[in-house]
Symmetry: C2
Subunit: 607 residues, 2 copies
């Protein structure tokens, strides 16, 4: 796969864009007209800079509003095109993108477009340029890719072909199976973008909300497969207009972009029945497939400004088994659930790292590195467990470990008389971990967890909080051994909008667990009476059930499969812990209850 990316995808000056693109491992770039016009590098300078960086210039774009115009306008357009062809010659690129006319077309007939594009083809041939004609989703008369192909087929000129862009095709709901109608040698270019499942006008959607493949809702592997089926062998090029990317460090964005293409290639290979591991990294080595994790062997939290982490763990019956033999971190454990408390991390409570059980650390690590994940070595000595560490876009660290019992021996053994062994109820592992996302990195984080860990899902939900909407996207590993909730707080994180950190423990019997905790004097988040009045109006619950839930501050939800019970500790400092029970395969996260929970938390904060 020849990889390419449009300069418009990333921020910074043209010089920075070129350097970042090369550093991320791309083979080529598309030069966007505005980037050239605003630059004081001459076209020759840009050409030689790309040459030095090992980048080919695969496309010059965009050239707009050419066809379907009056003869008088066409003469002007041909003059404009000739100037651009001369420029391309200086730039050293031979393909120009011509978008379907959105503004100046006065005639909707295909025959006029065919005639005028034919004349452009003649001029292009003289300048040894190839014209890639693309149907913009909001084109005035030509807005579907099969329409652009009918026109190009009728033009029947060696220098005129089509450009296929996943955005313009999938945003219109067109079936990529139709691509089969186009011979591969008439596809002059292929541009890729993913997008969230919005349904807004295609122009705004396109200009602001495109995403890299794997960050949105579209089936890009199926799309690319259709393109490759035609015999197309040109670049797969990212063209992603996104408000966030343009504000971000171009080197970070370029790596993210490259990760998306590698991951896409992998999915394409799999969907085409290739053996796993047939995707290769920039150096040509095979990339191992995503690790089949059996779950989280531990999570690591900071102690919190007011020691809230140990206090809450203690309240929930976790035992402090003591300090690591070398490091200032303690292990707390109950029912085989392990939480490491780091005493050296200062600041509000935060989830610092996740210990991910994988069958093969070397393979998981090689994969992460090939996907440009940033390495963070674990502090290890002697015969300690050998883990591989990576930093996620949201700052959480992942530590891959192959044998969860090995690191356990770095801590003291559990004391005799472990309370958890006599408790009538048990925790059944982590149900999910909520990870706070800076809004600038949230889409990147989805791609990261999908590609590096092989999680899937990521349906998006807006939860109305007291200070604004919280966007929540959930991801799961196959079999749900790992569940993550990626939460984006409203606006910039600050003292007003910051959300407390939390994770959820799975309970086998939440009613019994909460009774046990209440009997032990643990205070749970009080839920207002009005909530239970409404619950009674909404569900067929018995008075006794309502009364039980109300007396225990348990929230209730139901989906098509089953029921869900939730309770929360009160928030200590910046941390609370959620307790959940899933009944009969309930798959959600109780989102309907989140506004009530957040209002109750807010009341306690301001009280």
């Amino acid at each position: 796969m020849k990889t390419s990316i449009a300069t418009v995808c990333i921020g910074g000056t043209l010089e920075a864009k070129l350097a970042a693109t090369a550093a991320a491992g791309f083979d080529g770039i598309e030069v966007f007209e505005n980037d050239l016009i605003g630059s004081d590098l001459s076209p020759e300078d840009i050409r030689s800079m790309c040459g030095d960086l090992g980048l080919s210039i695969d496309l010059y774009q965009p050239f707009r509003d050419f066809e379907g115009v009056t003869e008088e306008q066409l003469v002007k357009n041909l003059r404009r095109a000739e100037r651009k062809f001369e420029l391309m010659h200086r730039l050293g690129t031979d393909t120009i993108l011509v978008c379907s006319n959105v503004a100046t077309a006065t005639d909707s007939s295909d025959s006029l477009a065919v005639d005028q594009l034919g004349r452009l083809g003649e001029l292009a041939a003289k300048h040894e340029v190839k014209v890639a004609y693309e149907a913009l989703a909001w084109g005035k008369h030509v807005s579907r890719f099969l329409h652009s192909w009918r026109i190009v087929e009728a033009v029947n000129h060696a220098n005129v072909g089509v450009c296929l862009d996943s955005f313009h095709i999938l945003s219109r709901g067109d079936d990529p199976a139709g691509i089969a109608a186009i011979p591969g040698d008439k596809i002059f270019f292929c541009q890729l973008a993913d997008a969230p499942a919005l349904s807004m006008d295609v122009l705004s959607w396109s200009r602001h909300y495109r995403l890299f493949p794997g960050e949105g809702a579209w089936d890009l592997p199926a799309f690319v497969s259709r393109v490759l089926d035609t015999g197309y062998a040109g670049p797969l090029s990212l063209e992603v207009f996104n408000d966030v990317f343009r504000q971000t460090d171009p080197f970070v964005t370029a790596k993210e972009a490259y990760r998306s293409l590698v991951s896409l290639d992998e999915s394409v290979q799999a969907s085409r029945g290739q053996a796993l591991g047939s995707t290769v990294d920039a150096a040509g080595s095979a990339i191992p497939s995503a690790p089949a994790s059996s779950g989280l062997s531990f999570i690591e939290l900071s102690e919190g400004l007011s020691h809230e982490t140990p206090q809450l763990l203690n309240a929930l019956g976790f035992q402090d088994v003591g300090l690591h033999r070398r490091k200032n971190v303690s292990l707390w454990t109950r029912d085989g659930v392990n939480v490491v408390v780091n005493h050296d991390l200062v600041g509000p409570a935060a989830i610092a790292s996740l210990g991910v059980d994988v069958p093969d650390v070397a393979a998981a690590s090689q994969r992460a590195a090939a996907l440009h994940a940033e390495v963070t070595p674990r502090d290890e000595a002697g015969d300690e467990d050998s883990m591989a560490g990576f930093v996620t876009p949201d700052g959480t660290k992942l530590f891959f470990s192959a044998d969860k019992r090995r690191w356990r021996s770095e801590f003291p053994p559990a004391p005799e008389g472990d309370a958890s062994q006599t408790a009538p109820t048990r925790f059944d592992g982590f149900d999910h971990i909520a990870l706070m996302q800076p809004w600038q990195r949230a889409d990147e984080a989805v791609l990261f967890y999908r590609s590096v860990l092989g999680l899937s899902g990521a349906g998006s939900l807006d939860v109305p909080g007291v200070r604004g909407l919280v966007q929540s996207r959930t991801l799961e590993s196959p079999g749900s051994a790992i569940r993550l909730a990626l939460n984006v707080p409203p606006g910039e994180p600050n003292v007003e909008t910051i959300l407390p950190v939390h994770f959820a423990l799975a309970c086998t019997n939440l009613v019994a667990t909460v009774r046990e905790l209440k009997a032990a004097g643990v205070q749970l988040l009080p839920i207002p009476r009005n909530y239970y009045d409404d619950l009674q109006a909404r569900f067929d619950l018995t008075d006794e059930e309502i009364e039980t839930y109300q007396s225990l501050d348990i929230l209730f939800d139901r989906d098509a499969s089953g029921s869900f019970l939730q309770a929360y500790t009160t928030t200590g400092g910046n941390l609370f812990i959620e307790l959940v029970e899933r009944q009969d395969g309930y798959t959600g996260y109780g989102a309907a209850n989140a506004p009530v929970r957040m209002a109750s938390q807010q009341r306690r904060t301001t009280a």
Copy 2:
């Protein structure tokens, strides 16, 4: 006009919402179900709190997914409704909003909906409740207001009427003239929201992007006129879901909301042929109409961290006429254009205030106060000009002055031999002032300038900057004596995204002015050669024109009416000054050139 607002419009706890609503002067509120469910105030507590604050509870909402369902589901829905009617009795409100079914309807026939809403009417009558049925724009079977009216008409029950919501009607493109078909006494409620001119799916549009009247693109006065024509005399209630409002201080949002209703009332009165001044404030006094400003008599800037303001003014031939007789501010003047430099304001260069010439300071000031503008007194002594000062949402201060020559005498007279009197070219006043908008306040600022100053316009444009998109909205007074460009930088303002401050001076002959400046050694922002190559490809300009513009770093644009020339000083510290010439009634701001300008500025910053 009885004013009301839904609790969902503003952020904070229910207690804060009620207090903020009352403080802003509203007559009543709509209680949104989620606000009640999440509250630990009992319905009786809420009722008595509203009573103490002088607020009526005008509506309980929303009740969803009632009609068009199976008989089994209907029994459940009636049970749920009865619980809510009992709750409303405790709350002391008699009207419930029932939205058209979006989820559970299994039957699209009107007859079933009519039958089931009739049974709801019977139950409502027993509980003395009025049901206001509203067609949601995304209702499953009922999504247009005339459809909801046909159903209500057929129900023919005293306790069942319609709720009209401008969002659901205008977002579907329906003509509010159709409201005339509905008798006023069957309109049980009227909700208002404005919105930006997006075309996205109505659900997302509704949930995130509603605006208060006067902030968006819709003709709310025409809508309200149609409703009043029916004889409707109930509350006009704001129901605005907006991500920003929910993150803002509820007291600020409630005042903004109230301002929008007062301003709307004024427009409605005007459109119905009422005399001006027939709109009254909360205390019942008539509100004077918007001032007919003759322009800006001065603008006040801070000196800037590196004295950039005086340096740039000096470079452009402004003369420093000296200090104010009492204050540490200097007046700089050329060709009757006045810039005050404040030496006491520290920090980066910023536009601190605008001196607005108005015919009647007392009237302009009374209007601003009635619209909840925050007063900021000018430091005045003795016989100095008596101005009235107000702070805008973006922080700029407005000073209304009735006689622009009076304050002039507080500064020394201009020295003899004023360079501007001998210069061959002249400045013709301020063309426009660019005011930086924190994104959280930008919509509020549009409403403020529209209502307090009577500006109009505010088309929105996204300009691609090097660090992301800059949203720009322009407003003008009648006759264009005042032009403002409200610019929202990408993301939170910080060292990466902050935009330099600028204002634009109108030139009668830009080519001559720039020649004069260059001859005097003034450096203008260099524009890359690539820009002029493109200009030649885009416009029918002669080689000589292109060469002149290129040699003078002048940018060119053209619209349907005329041409536009622009040049920029280099940025000193945080300030640059734009020079423009409008030819033949060009109405824009040269937005097409902004990316080139920003790229050139960025290059100089990072060089």
